[in-house]
């Protein structure tokens, strides 16, 4: 009899309504946002490498940032942009050129310019938003070979030959550092084979977390100087910067969210094998 009721309970466990599972996840992920608890966070060598690179920039250097992600993937990537731009804001005389090969790209670049303006930097002299170009890999190669030919007009309608910052830049070779933020394609492979392989400029990428494993070979081979892994990459950069931001705030929610999914995995597997053992015993 005991086996039956145990089987009954386990069977009931398996046919829980999907919406209850959703509710459990939603509540447990929301709680730490309201009452955050801080957890130790190890900073990976790749994040140190990018931080040191930005820290070593001197007045007169120009950084290129490419925004190749959609609004859908932004919450996992955009906090990285805020953290790095906050670091750039502290570097006097360092210029920033932004571009995007996703239609959403330039919209997210515009969202971080207030950080630079607050540090006294001005559009045209210290930062420029070139805007969006369709055509993916072909357009990237076009930008890399001749920036002002690919973008005769910037995102705000100015003539690029009139912007002081852009007079210091002809091709990709004139950038001291390129950081590509990517959520899909075009992404790291396209930038590596059309820009890094040809112009040998230091290339770092800030990508959505699920793309990290597939791009690790590029980091190990030295084709990339750094990979920032989604929201955790932002949290790690914020630790080095000494300023908590969206990345650190989300880590406690991530921890509970992961706990929920791991418990579901374990319960799901245990109840599957229990019912299979019960049912197989019943049949034989």
């Amino acid at each position: 009899m005991a086996a039956e009721t145990k089987g009954g309970f386990v069977e009931k466990l398996q046919h829980v309504d999907r919406r209850i599972l959703y509710l459990v996840l939603a509540v447990l992920v929301a709680i730490p946002l309201i009452w955050p608890f801080t957890l130790p966070l190890q900073v990976s060598p790749a994040v140190y490498s990018l931080y040191d690179h930005v820290e070593s920039l001197k007045s007169g250097d120009v950084v290129l940032m490419s925004f190749d992600y959609s609004a859908g993937g932004a919450p996992d990537i955009h906090p990285q942009v805020e953290a790095i731009v906050r670091h750039l804001a502290k570097k006097d005389g360092v210029g920033l050129v932004t571009v995007g090969f996703f239609p959403d790209g330039p919209m997210f670049a515009e969202k971080v310019f207030w950080i630079l303006e607050e540090a006294g930097k001005t559009y045209g002299e210290d930062f420029v938003n070139l805007g969006y170009r369709a055509g993916g890999e072909g357009a990237i190669a076009m930008l890399a070979s001749d920036v002002k030919a690919a973008f005769q007009t910037d995102f705000r309608g100015n003539d690029t030959s009139s912007l002081p910052l852009l007079q210091k830049v002809k091709s990709a070779r004139d950038f001291s550092l390129i950081i590509e933020f990517a959520g899909g394609s075009p992404g790291p492979p396209e930038w590596i084979r059309q820009v890094q392989a040809v112009y040998r400029v230091p290339l770092a990428v800030g990508i959505s977390t699920s793309m990290v494993p597939a791009n690790m070979p590029f980091l190990e081979s030295g084709q990339l100087i750094s990979i920032l892994s989604g929201l955790r990459g932002a949290a790690e950069y914020e630790v080095l910067l000494g300023e908590a931001g969206k990345g650190s705030a989300a880590m406690s929610s991530q921890t509970l969210g992961h706990l929920v999914i791991m418990v579901f995995l374990i319960v799901g597997n245990v109840s599957y094998f229990l019912t299979r053992k019960n049912s197989s015993r019943r049949i034989s």
Binding site: L25, A74, K111, A149, T255, M262, N269, Y272
Partner: protein, 205 residues
């Protein structure tokens, strides 16, 4: 003639871009720049065509009185956003307002729903029925512990375990798959370049 000439155009364009990379010839670099400029323009038109497809489908819905309210909503939203962007420029504060208060949050929500689908699938569908799935799920759990601070709670330098898994076995598998699929991609591109494969031209003679 309708299938041969486009294939010749495709072959010449592709070959010129390949030669541009391997031959240090000034003329080739200029031709490459021109081809890429034309490519950006045609790719921009291609984006408009994809949206046009949407317009055709939903105008037909409205005409056939099939879910009229929803199709009208879609068409008005499309024309409104495109019109605003073209009229005031996509960098205007008005355009940014609608972008940041409707498009951005909604597209995050559409993808965020996948977190829920993974949770219910974790409960019901991710079962270690065979050895492959078992190895996959075990290494997934080991790495998930490392991605959030749970690992450090179990053992202070748990981080070293998960980063070793990421930097050695994971990297080996990813690198092997990268080489194999790169060879596959080159073979597929070669067949397209010389016109053996023509799926991109669609059906019809």
């Amino acid at each position: 003639m309708r299938r041969e000439l486009p294939s010749v155009v495709l072959f010449v364009v592709g070959l010129l871009l390949i030669l541009e990379r391997f031959l240090n010839v000034g003329l080739l670099a200029e031709v490459g720049q021109e081809i890429r400029t034309w490519g950006i323009i045609v790719a921009a038109f291609a984006v408009a065509v994809a949206s046009m497809n949407l317009i055709v489908v939903h105008v037909r819905n409205v005409r056939q009185h099939k879910n009229v309210v929803y199709s009208l909503t879609l068409l008005l939203a499309l024309v409104g956003m495109a019109g605003l962007g073209i009229a005031t420029g996509t960098d205007s504060s008005g355009y940014k307002f609608w972008y940041n208060s409707l498009l951005s949050p909604m597209s995050s929500a559409m993808f965020a729903m996948l977190a829920f689908y993974i949770a219910s699938a974790a409960y019901r569908a991710f079962i270690a029925k065979n050895a492959e799935a078992a190895v996959l799920l075990i290494s997934a759990v080991l790495l998930m512990l490392g991605n959030v601070a749970l690992g450090e709670m179990i053992h202070p330098n748990y981080g070293a375990v998960s980063s070793w898994i990421m930097n050695v076995p994971n990297l080996a598998g990813q690198r092997g798959m990268m080489i194999a699929s790169a060879i596959g991609a080159v073979a597929t591109s070669l067949r397209v370049l010389v016109g053996i494969d023509r799926t991109h031209f669609g059906g019809g003679e």
